[in-house]
């Protein structure tokens, strides 16, 4: 079963690099992180040796980039009919779902790893807390996994990649901003306290923010991990349920 999952994983990962789109994507990702870090985030002007200006824009970048990575995972299989081939191979659906997700996640990890010059820059200029930076990278990757799991599931609902992308952005936006005044100001006046707190606790921004500050709370890690598991499970359910359509 593991062997089948690895085969799926390798095919999907190679699929990203089969066209120039992967390289274009990585270049865009690096350009945007650069622009946000050095211009919008005012990395130099802050005069502090840390990567906060770098990490704090990741949720907003991922909001657009993760749906772009995950949109093809299932929608393309539906469009070309290859889903029929894939799901009649002797492999469990859970292994297919996991293989596809891990390929998208690995691709993201490669893009993220290529931001290492920023890390080198800050280490050259000052004496940053390396532990906080490592936590930031791991937190960022974990959060990216959350976005990807959401978008992979939504990709399975349609055979149109554009629709998969748009749905992904919308749902990711909800999870990103759920703890901010944008959402809380709307629901606080009428919703019961417990509901407000529950919705606020879904916020990627708040949880990622504390990780970037160097506060590694087990609850945040459990949150992202269970979010990924939940959406991957939903992904399998959607594929099973939408096969005929």
């Amino acid at each position: 079963m593991i062997r089948g999952m690895i085969a799926i994983f390798r095919r999907e990962l190679a699929g990203y690099f089969a066209t120039p789109v992967a390289f274009v994507f990585i270049v865009i990702f690096l350009l945007l992180t650069g622009i946000f870090t050095f211009y919008v985030g005012a990395f130099f002007e802050q005069g502090q040796a840390d990567l906060k200006p770098f990490f704090m824009f990741h949720p907003w970048l991922y909001l657009l980039l993760m749906p772009a990575i995950a949109m093809r995972l299932w929608a393309e299989e539906r469009k070309t009919g290859s889903i029929e081939l894939l799901l009649t191979l002797p492999i469990r659906l859970s292994a297919v779902v996991l293989g596809k997700f891990l390929a998208a996640w690995t691709f993201t990890a490669i893009a993220l790893a290529l931001t290492f010059p920023v890390w080198i820059t800050v280490s050259y200029l000052g004496r940053p807390d390396q532990g906080v930076i490592v936590a930031g990278y791991l937190g960022s990757l974990l959060m990216a996994g959350g976005y990807l799991a959401i978008c992979a599931c939504l990709s399975a609902t349609t055979h149109n990649q554009v629709i998969a992308f748009v749905l992904g952005v919308i749902v990711c936006l909800l999870f990103t901003v759920s703890g901010t005044p944008i959402v809380l100001d709307i629901i606080t006046p009428w919703a019961p306290q417990a509901l407000v707190e529950t919705i606020a606790s879904f916020s990627f921004l708040a949880r990622f923010g504390s990780i970037v500050d160097g506060v590694i709370d087990l609850r945040d890690i459990v949150y992202f991990a269970s979010l990924i598991i939940f959406w991957l499970y939903a992904n399998a359910v959607v594929v099973e349920w939408r096969k005929a359509g």
Binding site: G81, E84, T88, P90, A244
Partner: protein
Amino acid sequence: MAMIEIKQLIMRFGTFTAVDGISFAVERGTVLGFLGPNGAGKSTTMKIITGFLAPTMGQVSVCGFDTAMAPVEAKRRIGYLPEGAPAYAEMTPREFLNFVADVRGLRRDDRRRKLDLAIERAGLGPVLEQPIDTLSKGFKRRVGLAQAILHDPDVLILDEPTDGLDPNQKFAVRALIKEMAATKAIVISTHILEEVEAVCTRSLIIARGRVLAEGTPLPDAGGWRFGEHQAAPGRLDAIFRRITTGENQHQEIAA
């Protein structure tokens, strides 16, 4: 033991009944032809046998494995060419077949031998390193066929294997099916009547989700018999029309 055994299969999509109580069994050495108009339920039945769709009711077993209880075991023993021969367009046939071999868990010498044989049988040699989306329709179909026969399965399910091929390619695919027929149970679907005569040892006429007639060839290439109907060689079309539409029934029998 029958290689494929289907009991009282029913498939509903909402209020539409695509398959309405089909039962049959296929033995080793049989090439069973599904014959029927478009939308008759041929493809849906194949999707259920291969485990892609779960039936609303009924039972399917492949080599003794119930497709609902032991789906992976059943799928291991099936080679399937879906309608339109879908594949991953950006891969080359070699990459694609390697991927299928990986998922199917073929290894070492056995893997190399089976890959070579499937490539040779499907005649993919000249296009092995070209992306699949640049191939002609005939070669794409052969890639799908190579993928289906790769693991030398006991059961082959081929949905319109010669659709869109030129006469020479059709001949080659039919020859390949006949070559493999002795050791396997093969089901093909088609709406080309000559194909049934060319390769099948048995045939089911399916329309509106039901089996309307079962046919077998008469000895000494003497045509086909479908129940009370008998067709001279090359004259299956009249019987097909009569059975699927019910028209001209009395005149023809009288004549």
